[in-house]
Amino acid sequence: MKKAGVFIAFLAVASSVALAVASLDPCASSSSSKVVQLSLSLPPGLGSSREGDVRLGSRKGVEDKFAPRFDGLRFIEMLVTVSSSCRPLVRKKAALCLLRLYRKNPDVVNIDGWSDRMSQLLDERDLGVLTSVMSLFVAIVSNNVEAYWNCLPKCVKILERLGRNQDVPQEYTYHGIPSPWIQVKTMRALQYFPTIEDPNTRRALFEVLQRILMGTDVVKNVNKNNAVHAILFEALALENMTRMLLVSDVQDIIKSHQAQIIISLKDPDISIRRRALDLLYGMCDVTNAKDIVEELLQYLNTADFAMREELALKAAILAEKFAPDLSWYVDVILQLIDKAGDFVSDDIWYRVVQFVTNNEDLQPYAAAKAREYLEKPALHETMVKVSAYLLGEYSHLLARRTGCTLKEIFIIINEKLPTVTTSTVAILLSTYAKILMHNHPPDPELQEQIWSIFRKYESCIDVEIQQRAVEYIALCNKGAALVDVLAEMPKFPERQSALLKKAEVAEVDTAEQSAIRIRSQQQTSNALVVTDQRPTEGSLPVSQLGLVRMPSEASTQDQTSFQDEGMTKENGVITEVVPQDVPPADLLGDLLGSLAINGSPATAVPVEQRNQNLLSVVEATPEAAGPFTLTIVDNQPNSIQPIVNIAERFNELCLKDSGVLYEDPHIQVQCPLEFVNLRASRDVAVLDFSYKFGTAMVNVKLRLPAVINKFLQPISVTAEEFFDQWKSLSGPPLKLQEVLRGVKPLSLPEIANLFTSLHLAVNPGIDTNPNNLIACTTFYSESTRATLCLIRVETDPSDRTQLRITIASGDPTLTLKERIKEYLVNIPTQTPSAVVAPLQPQSPVTPVAYNDPGAMLAGLL
């Protein structure tokens, strides 16, 4: 009988796991524990070698094979639970066998109603069996804590038993410590349970933990040291989780370890440094946050580069989570930016701005701090950004302090202007605009200085900056309206910290979900509670996508479309106006932004474009959706065919989400438009937007940024292809040549950049003359399809102010070459050219820069 069992089991090894499990059946009837033991070894043991084969086959098939045989499982369960008469060797293997099968497929192993059995199992006296049982318990508890509350006191009992070294056989002590593995596993299991309700159990656990925390000393024996610290660290983790830190003497004990951990931050081994950082992060709470964060800040100076980003993020999160007061939080983040600006992601400083905006008490303090930092000689760019932003918003609160007049603030910010990159310049320009707004009574000198800066950037090659400059100038001319538009940013709606989200992203693939992660998902940042945030727009679903978009960014986008549109007096034929619900780009939404159908999130309303009057108008007519219509303006008959039911689309657009458009004035509606270019044209695409307010008709004509170079696609050609084409196209109108004089001196790379941004692919090496430039592109339209265009620029190295340009394309009707020619002539010279003024009436929202071709071209870039 014995041998038969072994033989069957052995055969099973050769065939498959399914058979192995099958072989459990005959074994079940066998009374020999050796046979049972051997067959138990198979499924888990095979996991390592045979799993691959099983996976290769269809999973379903495998399960089918398993299913009828799972009486074998019952047998294992029985072995584990009931038959304490079985030898320990068999029972512990049975427990692990069950665990392995449970991991493979939790549904197959039926553990319903196991809590009582589990509780029995935890009474086990044999520590070998207990080790296995505890592994099984951790796996089961990690999936479902609720059902196993009755096991909690048992776990504490086990810890007590081991902690006091009662009833532990000599063979299960490791360097004098009662099985550290069980202790560690038990504490792991306890970590899955939230706070313990029962006071007796809690006290018992607390005593055990205290014994561990106090009793752990560094000893000479390395192995013993390892074991006691293994227990200690788990205890610390559990301690921290159960938040039993309230008793002061325990706190002191932990603090003594805290010092040790902080020292470990300087350990020569990077993995220890990382661990120490993680541990500090984990054990931080309201009481020691200040110390730990300050320690982290100091450490930032010397930390490895590989760790700095993580370090900065963690310090920022801790500061946010446990900030005793918000001014401290602002201090920490500013220090963080100062010390490790390169490693501070944008999210971090956005968060500061968010807090400051939401807490009025904090605003003067933050502004003063920002002012202090600006005096430092070498300043990280992120610091310039955040300081400039804060001072722009709140510098007027400092007006009474010395050295904080608007003018002085302007001067100190302006010192940074030449050294910063474009993204920062954009923020600085907004700051200047805000300073200008607070300039009461007007200081003509300051005003002139700011205006001169705006004027300088009005022709900046960077679209973003140029747009800001142009718009701010326009706004300045509006006089009193400026104050409305540039008013202080509204409060941010409450969000989950993007930083926390970011920290959570690190997904770990382990057999059991980490208790720490489960807990951290349940916790919320308490810093948010501190903000005196009034609940905003209760009906609005608050986006969980993390941080709200910062004003700077939001306005960037809005302005981009605005500017483009403002520049678009050129060609372009609008054909289909197709509002869509899921916008890939927000075009109309942004356009309408100025008309106040804007607002969710409310903060995304760019200050510069906020129009209070219209807002109130809209608020006054909640049922205004009725008289709206959306039609397409035929500025070119036959060129525009609506392809969808406009009315239906409009309703969908307006009524989405809430069902009523103006129930809430802050609902933002986005409406992307798609353009098809029918043929080359110089006409402007205009969206005629009108609605009725009461009896008054409001009409706005919005120019759309459908410029010709949007329909270009860069293409690279070989020298052969190029010359073939070039020769086949000869003479006007296929090939046009012109010598341009009075060009603003541009180096060849600069011209190449210009071309690239116009969607013209520069092909180096085709022209052997290094002073010449060849570019190619393809123009798309409905009537002409793809048309190849070749451009050649010949420059004179001795006189950069003149160049000769030749443009060739296969379509004589293509006005594109005219346009490109004009761009190239006009842009560098920055003088008004003979270009025909826009045929369309001026759009009321974009009165700016129409006559500045330089700005125009830059806008097209």
Binding site: K3, E51, R100, G128, P180, W181, V184, N223, V508, T510
Partner: protein, 166 residues
């Protein structure tokens, strides 16, 4: 859970490879090579814990002990305590030592079957099965008794076990 147990010498030659999740042989070799590359670059005075996200996937760590000419390496995920794993290596080594009396690399080379049996009694399907070296030894002895008594099935060819067994 424990993902793998690797015993290799300081030249990078594997003496025992045990993966508790299926890995094809080529992958096993590759993993062994990467582990050796990590270990050989570490001086003696640094920590015995290494994060191996790049080799074994995210969240995995390895703990190793360098004893005489051998590296004992345990790879595991975040469900296990590193120091407990280090202790477990110690248990494994102590058990080997008891079994072979002053264990050296050659013992492991010639008695690989015994080595596997011992390991299987300590770690089972990636979980800690037994932590008492006395109990492990008892189980191992029982298995070898069983082997001897069952003449029809021998797990290791007689010629090999007879020549090198003690």
């Amino acid at each position: 859970m424990i993902r793998a147990v690797i015993v290799m010498n300081t030249q990078g030659k594997p003496r025992l490879l045990k993966f508790y999740e299926f890995q094809p042989p080529e992958k096993q070799q590759e993993l062994t090579r990467s582990v050796f590359a990590v270990l050989s670059g570490r001086p003696d005075n640094v920590s015995n814990f290494v994060e191996t996200d790049a080799i074994f996937g995210s969240g995995t760590r390895l703990v190793y002990k360098h004893l005489a000419t051998l590296y004992f390496v345990f790879v595991f995920d975040s469900c296990e305590n590193e120091l407990a794993m280090l202790d477990l290596i110690q248990v494994l080594v102590e058990t080997l030592d008891r079994c072979f009396k002053n264990v050296c690399e050659l013992d492991i080379v010639f008695n690989f079957n015994k080595m596997h049996t011992i390991l299987d009694e300590i770690i089972f399907g990636g979980q800690v099965l037994e932590t008492s070296s006395e109990r492990v030894l008892k189980a191992v002895e029982e298995i070898s008794r069983l082997e001897k008594s069952s003449s029809s099935v021998s797990f290791v060819p007689k010629s090999v076990s007879g020549r090198f067994g003690r």
